[in-house]
Symmetry: C2
Subunit: 220 residues, 2 copies
DNA sequence: AAATGCCTTAGGCGATCGCCTAAGACGTCA
DNA sequence: TGACGTCTTAGGCGATCGCCTAAGGCATTT
């Protein structure tokens, strides 16, 4: 490590910060277009329109770039997820928003970033640990949300154990992203439609309970 | 060093075939231990205990090694899956065997091979296409099996649409493998236990129908 | 024994990699 | 204006990569 920030003290060092963000943006683009093996110092500098020496100067190593890219990317996702499920809306609306996010993300290629970073981490303990932590945070958000939803729908926790339910949703979600990135989309629409319809039918059979539960439950 | 004998012509060229198999075995080992980026000609030759020139001589390129490794690996999986679900047993036994396979494979690190090959394919159209084809075969096997199982359990296809059910099973299965390779296993046991219990309860409520259906249904 | 042709080897070519350095540009102080 | 610390640059070092070649080993056929 070299450069300490001097002007950082009074103006958050916009040029440096801009360069750092530029590299992280470029890293995401390269992850989508080339995969994690395609993120080299030279290509990264080229994609960011900056000099490759800066990568060493600002980040120290390429691994650190990948780690920071992972942190920034996953922070965004977790924040969005948290905001969504903390909102005061019927569960089905949250679910539909989440599924809309999924479609939007797929269209934008974001799951490729997430999966490439995971693949990168499979052989780098530090990265893998961070991945596991993000996964854990995500699971916690869903556990909260689904716990409330189970109340809202009046589901029997013995018939639908929360932990299993959350794991099912997380795994099939990631499975869908994995398949899509590998060029497979067969059955996905049918699956999502099925779930949507099931949620809707549950909402109808428990109509009045639902209103009570929705009012009652913020969270905690 | 390997065996001599240029009886190649009359007995399927054992030395060459052995070398090829040796490289493919070594490739699988390297995929597990190093990831697809760790499969280089030199490391592959080292892991196989063979000369690196042979890779060019036998395969032409490293990409061809990866492609053949993918074909061999996926052929094994599909064959096993097909044999399992074509057997004449109650569905729950097949399912439990499949879940036992999953655990065994995870213990042996095989899903890492599958996922590394997928990651490798994300940026190589030829590989990706093969991945998609294997996925399709797999889905067909499950569609057959679950179609029969739905009969066996007397499930209403309107309540449990086959395509969605198959997609759910495929995606959550791959999601579990993905999470495990990334170091996450939380909730997996609970999820599998839940499914097992649900299948068992379905078997009980439809006990006699079940026997009829099991006798009735081979397949076709 | 000589010739043939498959098999195997060591080694090297050009390209690319991550990381680092030396030097100058720039802005901000005294 | 001169000194100083920060930022930015071009370029190069050693390592490693995929691919290929030239040369011989060796069993089989003449």
């Amino acid at each position: 490590m070299v450069g300490r920030l001097a002007s950082a003290r009074r103006s958050a060092s916009p040029p440096r910060a801009r360069a750092v963000e530029g590299f992280l943006d470029a890293a995401e683009r390269l992850l989508i277009e080339e995969g994690h093996a395609g993120v080299t110092t030279r290509r990264l500098a080229g994609a960011a329109g900056l000099n490759q020496g800066l990568i060493h100067y600002y980040f120290g190593s390429l691994d650190e770039v990948m780690l920071q890219a992972l942190e920034r990317f996953t922070d965004r996702l977790i924040k969005r997820q948290r905001a969504l499920y903390e909102a005061d809306k019927p569960f089905i609306e949250k679910w539909r928003t989440a599924m809309r996010y999924l479609e939007e993300d797929l269209a934008a290629g974001y799951p490729k970033i997430w999966l490439e970073l995971q693949a990168f981490g499979w052989n780098r303990p530090e990265i893998r640990e961070r991945i596991a932590r993000v996964n854990q945070e995500w699971r916690e958000v869903l556990t909260d949300a689904f716990g409330n939803a189970a109340d809202e729908y009046g589901l029997d926790p013995r018939e639908f154990p929360l932990e299993a339910l959350v794991s099912l949703v997380m795994t099939f979600n990631q499975g869908i992203e994995l398949e899509r990135v590998s060029g497979v989309s067969a059955g996905h629409d049918a699956l999502l439609a099925w779930i949507d319809q099931w949620l809707e039918s549950q909402g109808e059979t428990n109509e009045h309970d639902h209103h009570h539960a929705a009012r009652r439950g913020g969270q905690t």
